[in-house]
Symmetry: C2
Subunit: 356 residues, 2 copies
């Protein structure tokens, strides 16, 4: 029952903080949209159409050739999960918030390590996602390709010779590809260069978003950068261009951190020390404050100012402190104040646990 583990444990492979450039680049994600040619788009699906698609996907991922290529995948209908468990999948970045609406028609397919997920009957019939730690867009894209090929052995996707893959929303037509990286940029924020850097990113036709996707604000100095155009470029072009931009931003961030250490070491040590002191001793903490302090802590860990906290713990904490995880842990719906107390307790426990 791997879905149980997924909703009960915060850890996910993408939080491992082990990939290339992982001090700046938290994770890399590639997502493609696919639709079955035999069915109307998701928003026009009847309940039985939806059920049929879910069934087809289950058969496709259960196929022995597919397993050999891509690994064991498990399909879970959204209605099998409680509202809190569904929300946890969003907070772990395994599904989009869209999959929560009208969830009775929807399903998710997950590989045990949570690197691969397939959303079924979201805006498109299938959205294949691959999520890896660090800068691994190329690796994610290769895995998506395998997954796509494996599925195409059983499923027939809507494809137009000129337009490419057809999607429910025209902005996804063509490659149907969205590639994104999650960047932690406290250095650029501290030296007041973040606006310039992100401005440049926008001019290159890339989108900048906060931690939880479109419309969310950047908190904890985490920024998500993704391609906007899906048509008229090959997948490889899109991936390579994002790799190049992400690499350049990572280099600027590293330079910013070096400058800070050179010119304002005490201030940075103070900031990191205060964050650790508060995180490990406060008794009430809002999610906003926690994310802000965890960002400072992550900076301290990456600058080796704090050596007893593994970087993956900081990333895990950023997810763990979110409401759904706390409600799940409490076993019932709790007040916002009770959550703040629980959040502080959880952070204290985790941070002092690694020290002792």
């Amino acid at each position: 029952m791997s879905i149980r583990e997924t909703v009960n444990n915060v850890h996910s492979h993408w939080m491992d903080a082990k990939g290339p450039e992982s001090e700046v680049i938290v994770s890399s994600r590639v997502r493609v949209a696919r639709n079955l040619s035999s069915m109307p788009f998701s928003h026009l699906l009847s309940d039985s159409d939806a059920r049929e698609i879910i069934h087809s996907v289950m058969l496709a991922t259960d196929h022995c050739d597919f397993r050999e290529q891509v690994g064991n995948l498990e399909l879970t209908e959204m209605s099998e999960l409680t509202p809190v468990e569904r929300q946890i999948l969003v907070e772990k970045h395994l599904i989009s918030p869209d999959l929560l609406e009208n969830y009775i028609k929807k399903a998710v397919v997950l590989r045990e390590d949570e690197v691969i997920s397939i959303m079924v009957n979201e805006e498109d019939h299938l959205r294949l996602q691959c999520l890896l730690p660090g800068l691994q867009l190329k690796e994610a894209w290769d895995l998506i390709n395998k997954l796509d090929d494996g599925l195409e052995k059983t499923l027939e996707f809507a494809y137009h010779e000129n337009l490419g893959y057809l999607t429910a929303c025209p902005t996804n037509v063509g490659t149907g590809l969205r590639a994104s990286v999650m960047l932690h940029l406290p250095g650029l924020v501290l030296i007041n260069r973040i606006r310039d850097v992100l401005g440049l990113v926008s001019k290159l036709g890339l989108a900048v978003r906060g931690l939880y996707g479109e419309g969310t604000e950047a908190s904890g100095n985490l920024f998500q950068i993704s391609n906007q155009v899906t048509l008229g470029q090959t997948e490889e072009d899109i991936i390579n261009s994002l790799i190049s931009v992400a690499g350049q931003i990572a280099a600027s961030e590293r330079a910013a951190r070096e400058a800070l250490i050179r010119e304002r070491r005490e201030h940075i040590e103070d900031r990191v020390g205060r964050a650790y002191g508060l995180l490990s001793h406060a008794r009430i903490m809002t999610s906003e404050e926690a994310v802000r302090l965890l960002s400072d802590l992550r900076l301290g860990v990456s600058l080796k100012m704090i050596d007893f906290i593994p970087a993956n713990l900081v990333t895990e904490l950023m997810v763990m402190i979110r409401p759904a995880f706390l409600v799940k842990k409490a076993g019932k719906d709790i007040s916002s104040f009770a959550r703040d107390v629980m959040r502080a307790g959880l952070i204290r426990e985790k941070l002092t646990g690694v020290r002792d």
Copy 2:
């Protein structure tokens, strides 16, 4: 060379946090003003007059009967000390800032435990001070009496049958007595009752001041309460009335703390935890922030929320973080920023020292 120890070590008996009511009442002080009848008041003294007075005091305190009664006292002329060392005596509350002005004419007599100090040629020829931890006004007054009697065996004090002891400033005439207590009142501050309580104190004819006497603001929730009138009341009346008021305030403060624990335990634990976290991990700290956080920490220690920090360490830190101690420790004059870095380091060292 006990004066060396006094200026090199922060510890003083009054910081022991061991007397009655010491959770609220930090220290008790009794001071009397005396003048030699044979000499003009201090502001009219020639250099040789001043020297003669210092010499008389030295002889009086060296007298064998006196030693038997009061203990070994050591006289130090202010000119034997560096400016920083003189300032340290002020920060330890052993002398008043007035003794720093025109210091060439002045001296201080100290008992090794720093409970007794005599300022020579301050506003009056002699100011005898006794400083004890907790609520020990009665004990301090008894000790002052012994000291006074001992000195009167050799010295003749200016005394008027109707007016009592004559002093340079008319507000001290009569008993020449000032008694004061230093109170730590975070509970009354937090429940917003401090204004009422202190208003009542003023109406009773008592003066309320901050940590470093007249004209200084109350920082760290520390308030000094002292008698204003020295004439028309016996010494015992003055002392007893202050004991009674101090006891009542201490009771209100304890009630406030109990109410806070009952109604807002998490908030108080959070406040105390955050203070400890910041004090033990920050790298830059102003004296204002340190005093504020040490006040929260003292509250936590007295409420037994923190059991590994002795209360006297908190009181010692409140003195240790002041500029003169830091400059003395640095061995040279240092910038305000360097002091902030040093202060944070010192606090970290002391607080983590007791834990490990």
